[in-house]
């Protein structure tokens, strides 16, 4: 295992993030904020932080709107409207706002959200390179939109001579993440994260499945297991965590499934800190290389074992998943996820009581490209 790309990636939370941005105020000459339009109460967190740091007036905002079709209104559309009103209240006409629509379902009813997200990133390629700082807030973006978009952006930055800084940001609210559950209608490797996992010629190579677990993903786990057909399952549970009982509670929730039909033994379980995304990034790197080494004899000289990761966890941990897969995509690591059926009904109103100021204190941002990596 060579030096990890993001092992020491700088990350900031809440007030530290505000002061970091305030300090860099002068060098952030042309920033852009890419964010989703969604019902998630965290949608405007990063926008608020940029406002607090005093850099908002120079920020361009790109809104990613995703839906089955442009006129679609679902059960949470009212909350989306509320979020847009709040956005306009913060911006007060100071920023240039543009909107990009990502259609998630094609006419034949196939789910294409992830592919369209790659396309959107492609289309924005030239434009994004003109900015000095790119902030991507995944708070109101589902993984099938945010992951392909970020991966393409990282790829574009890697290939270009641009030294733009790229920040990935999300609000941290475990309870909310546990409740926002995608209905798993489609189960597949996320576009751009297939690696060699779908290749017929590689099918004989062992597949390790590392689901990073949170609450409420029972249906997804069962579908993903059938889809991936792994040789071994190595679940990753969040520990340390704000709630020290959290890993136990999560394990108890899936115990019947994991222990019996899937035959997961205690030694297959790993733990990664839920206090930041980089621990899960390091764990998954270690796990991937460990299995490639120990399973070499089973591969009969036809290649190396592969690792499939599934971010069934909080948004913050999912950043770690994203980074590790971007780094190892060429080496047999990919992402499988179950999505496409909208969200399971939840009472978002309960979570909207918190004030934006309070919510912004838990905003976590990782610096993934630019100055520290030159």
């Amino acid at each position: 295992m060579t030096q990890l790309r993001w092992q020491f990636a700088p990350s900031f939370t809440g007030k530290a993030l505000v002061s970091f941005l305030s300090d860099r105020h002068e060098s952030i000459t042309k920033p852009v904020l890419v964010m989703g339009i969604g019902f998630d109460p965290r949608m405007n967190n990063m926008l608020f932080i940029l406002h607090e740091a005093g850099v908002l007036s120079s920020v361009d905002i790109i809104l990613l709107k995703y839906a089955r079709n442009n006129s679609y209104r679902g059960q949470n559309s009212n909350f989306v409207d509320e979020n847009i009103i709040a956005l306009n209240a913060i911006v007060e006409g100071r920023c240039e706002i543009s909107e990009i629509f990502i259609q998630t379902q094609d006419d034949g009813r196939g789910f294409v959200g992830d592919y369209k997200s790659i396309q959107a990133a492609h289309d924005l390629k030239g434009r994004l390179m003109n900015y000095t700082d790119i902030f991507i807030d995944i708070g109101a973006l589902p993984t099938y939109i945010s992951f392909p978009f970020i991966k393409e952006t990282v790829k574009t930055l890697d290939e270009s001579v641009s030294t733009a800084n790229l920040f990935i940001s999300t609000g941290v609210e475990q309870e909310l993440d546990d409740r926002i559950v995608d209905v798993p209608d489609y189960c597949r490797y996320v576009a751009g994260f297939e690696s060699n996992l779908h290749l017929e010629g590689m099918n004989s190579l062992p597949k390790i499945w590392a689901p990073v677990l949170g609450h409420g993903r029972f249906a997804s786990i069962s579908k993903l297991y059938d889809y991936i057909a792994p040789l071994e399952i190595c679940p990753i549970l969040p520990f340390p965590s704000d709630n020290p009982r959290r890993p136990d509670e999560i394990f108890i929730e899936y115990q019947q499934m994991l222990a019996e039909p899937y035959k997961v033994s205690p030694r297959d379980i790993s733990y990664a800190s839920e206090l930041g995304p980089l621990d899960v990034y390091r764990r998954l790197n270690t796990l991937h290389y460990h299995f490639q080494k120990v399973l070499e004899p089973l591969c009969e000289g036809l290649g190396k074992s592969r690792t499939v990761v599934s971010p069934l966890c909080s948004k913050m941990l999912s950043i770690g998943v994203l980074l590790v897969v971007i780094e190892n995509e060429g080496d047999g690591m990919g992402i499988a996820n179950a999505f496409g059926g909208g969200h399971a009904p939840l009472n978002v109103a309960v979570f909207r009581k918190k004030k934006l100021e309070e919510r912004a204190l838990a905003q976590h941002t990782v610096w993934v490209a630019g100055e520290p990596f030159i």
Binding site: G110, E194, H198, L199, G201, D226, E260, L302
Partner: protein, 641 residues
């Protein structure tokens, strides 16, 4: 204690062991192939079914692992019957070795990216060729008794004839030691994927035909020096998952006169146009039993002896995989479904309500003055008392509404006894009483078979939900047998889930659901009329064949409303929301009608009976209005309760 529910396992996808897969495979499923026994290995085969109809399970049965496993089964084994059947169909040789080399390839995954990147049909065929040849090596190794990938180098490919049209680069790859061939093909596939991820479509060159067909036709396999001759078959599953251009390129292979290797296509009914769903033709331009065989796996959707036996076998095989604590209670589903009510129902209130109803009819019509003598004994009202009173009300309502009265009109009381004996009147009375008074109506294993609408997956889902409750009862040491109340509650819940899921899985889901809501509501209104004119109930609609043909014709002339109607009808049939088929053309009122019956789970959702036969004719214009949710052309009828 974990008790795994065997009904919730999909045979083809969930079975981890080959023995488990063959154990839950229902032998009756192969009966559909009997008719075509001599043609199965000579022509292309189209296996058509609605989602969950059993295509994948059937295709996977003729892959090397199950065939080898079954070929080794001794005569005393419970799986021996399946082996004999496969032997008779020509898939297994007399000595137990596989006679065919089934090369299975699902087309639902791994092809999304090429479609999205607009890779040409030629590129698609090239990728498919590579994958099929890779799969062929794997399948051949299993069929010869080798271990994959350990024994790859022991397998050799010999080409007996250099096919004329074969792409030379592909042909040159596919010869000699299999380890090298496998690695080369694999590298080619990887190269293809790499170019794709870099969006370099210019590097994704391909060819216009599926060359693997010619290559495999001339291939002989040598394992450890011994020659093995197999009849190759391509098993292309989930063809409906492909982008239209790609599956059309595969479909175009069917009419080709030169049949090198037969292809079995597993397709969902959704790929067919509306007219193709009804007539016996396969796809336009192909002739059945000359170019191909089209087998509809769930053509017996309406309850028949075959469906009945098949689904009972499915249930029994599943229960045999249940935990011992459950298995000890019995191996058929009816052992777990009781018919004794959990509680006793108080019929006094209902009976009083019905008596009031009868007296108000008598008060309003002096023709019924003598009717009180036909009232049952009311001292201790039972279920039967209520049923008889409902029958009486129906009779009175019919008499009241008799269109032509005679000069000295009196009710035809002499017919009353006959009327009371009629089974459809009994059926509708039961429906009225139970559905309006929370007395369980949907229960027993017969009902569950009806509710399946001939679809295995639907049956397994419903039975699985019931079995979940059985497992819970066993776990907490309660009586394992489910009372009718529990069965009714679970089935209604399953129906609600089925209904709510429609917009998610069906194309144009919202329109389809809107249309079905009107159809269901209409059937409900007609069924629950006080006269019960269509006893035991309406569960479908009929469209005249003339109207149907004109819809197809005018759709082509871009008449938007008919175009939409035909598309919604097509989706409903393809997704098993309407049960229909060639057998659903009925002669009535001097015209031929195409009858579309609601899926039986939808009947549960709309509180309808599960019988067939009751339908109301509708004009195409009315159906077009229904598409928009317009119910103005039918007035809600007054119900009994």
């Amino acid at each position: 204690m974990t008790l795994e529910n065997p009904f919730l396992k999909r045979a083809a996808e969930h079975a981890t062991e080959v023995t488990e897969f063959v154990d839950i495979f229902a032998l009756k499923c192969l009966d559909k192939l009997d008719e075509y026994r001599d043609l199965l290995l000579k022509l292309h085969v189209i296996l058509e079914a609605t989602p969950g109809g059993g295509k994948t399970t059937l295709l996977k049965l003729i892959t090397p692992e199950p065939l080898r496993q079954l070929g080794q089964e001794p005569a005393e084994s419970s799986r021996y019957l399946l082996r004999q059947k496969l032997q008779a169909l020509g898939f297994i040789k007399q000595d137990g070795s596989p006679a065919v080399l089934g090369i299975y390839q699902s087309l639902i995954t791994g092809y999304e990216t090429i479609a999205f990147n607009a890779v040409s049909v030629e590129g698609f065929l090239r990728l498919l060729d590579l994958r099929l040849l890779i799969k062929a090596i794997r399948a051949a190794l299993f069929s010869c008794g080798g271990n994959f990938p350990r024994d790859l180098s022991k397998l050799e490919i010999c080409i007996t004839d250099n096919g004329q049209q074969v792409d030379t680069s592909l042909r040159s790859l596919f010869s000699g030691n299999c380890r090298q061939v496998f690695q080369m093909l694999s590298a080619e596939e990887q190269h293809f994927a790499q170019a794709l991820s870099l969006h370099k479509n210019d590097q994704l060159e391909g060819h216009k035909e599926l060359y693997s067909l010619d290559i495999l036709k001339n291939t002989v396999w040598k394992f450890e020096g011994l020659e093995h001759n197999f009849k190759h078959i391509l098993l292309l599953d989930d063809v409906h998952g492909l982008h239209k251009e790609y599956w059309e390129s595969l479909r175009n292979l069917i009419p080709s006169r030169k049949l090198s290797v037969p292809i079995w296509y597993g397709v969902r009914s959704q790929v067919f146009a509306l007219d193709e769903l009804f007539d016996g033709e396969t796809w336009s331009g192909t002739i059945p039993e000359r170019d191909c065989i089209r087998i509809k796996l769930d053509s017996n959707r309406r309850r028949s002896r075959d469906t009945d036996a098949f689904l009972r076998e499915v249930a029994e095989k599943r229960i045999r995989r249940a935990p011992t604590e459950v298995l000890s209670k019995g191996t058929s589903l009816d052992k777990f479904l009781g018919n004794r009510f959990k509680k006793s129902y108080d019929y006094k209130v209902i009976v009083n309500q019905l008596i009031t109803e009868i007296y108000s009819l008598i008060d309003n019509n002096d023709r019924f003055v003598n009717i009180t003598q036909h009232l049952p004994d009311l001292t201790s009202p039972t279920h039967e008392t209520a049923i008889n009173l409902i029958k009486l009300i129906i009779w009175m309502e019919r008499e009241r509404n008799r269109p032509q009265l005679t000069l000295f009109d009196t009710p035809e009381e002499k017919n009353l006894e006959d009327f009371f004996q009629r089974s459809e009147i009994r059926g509708v009375a039961e429906l009225f009483l139970r559905n309006q008074n929370q007395v369980p109506y949907y229960y027993s294993d017969d009902v569950i078979i009806d509710i399946a609408s001939g679809n295995v997956q639907q049956y397994l889902n419903v039975a699985g939900k019931l079995f979940n409750r059985v497992l819970t009862n066993v776990r907490v040491k309660r009586a394992h047998c489910l009372p009718p109340e529990d069965q009714d509650e679970i089935l209604r819940l399953a129906a609600r889930e089925f209904w709510n899921d429609i917009p998610r899985y069906a194309p144009q889901g919202e329109s389809v659901q809107r249309f079905l809501r009107v159809v269901g509501t209409y059937c409900r209104h007609q069924t629950y009329r006080r006269t019960a004119s269509y006893a035991p109930g309406i569960t479908g609609i009929g469209i005249s064949v003339t109207d149907y043909q004109s819809i197809l014709k005018e759709k082509k002339q871009n008449h938007p409303a008919f175009g939409k109607l035909s598309e919604v009808m097509r989706i409903c049939i393809a997704y098993n929301l309407f049960e229909s088929g060639k057998d659903c053309i009925v002669r009535c009122k001097g015209r031929d009608w195409l009858v579309l019956y609601l899926n039986r789970l939808l009947c549960v959702y709309f509180d309808l009976p599960l019988c067939y036969g009751g339908f109301r004719e509708q004009q195409r214009k009315v159906l077009c209005d229904w598409l928009e949710g317009d119910t103005s052309n039918f007035m809600p009828q007054e119900g009994l309760f």
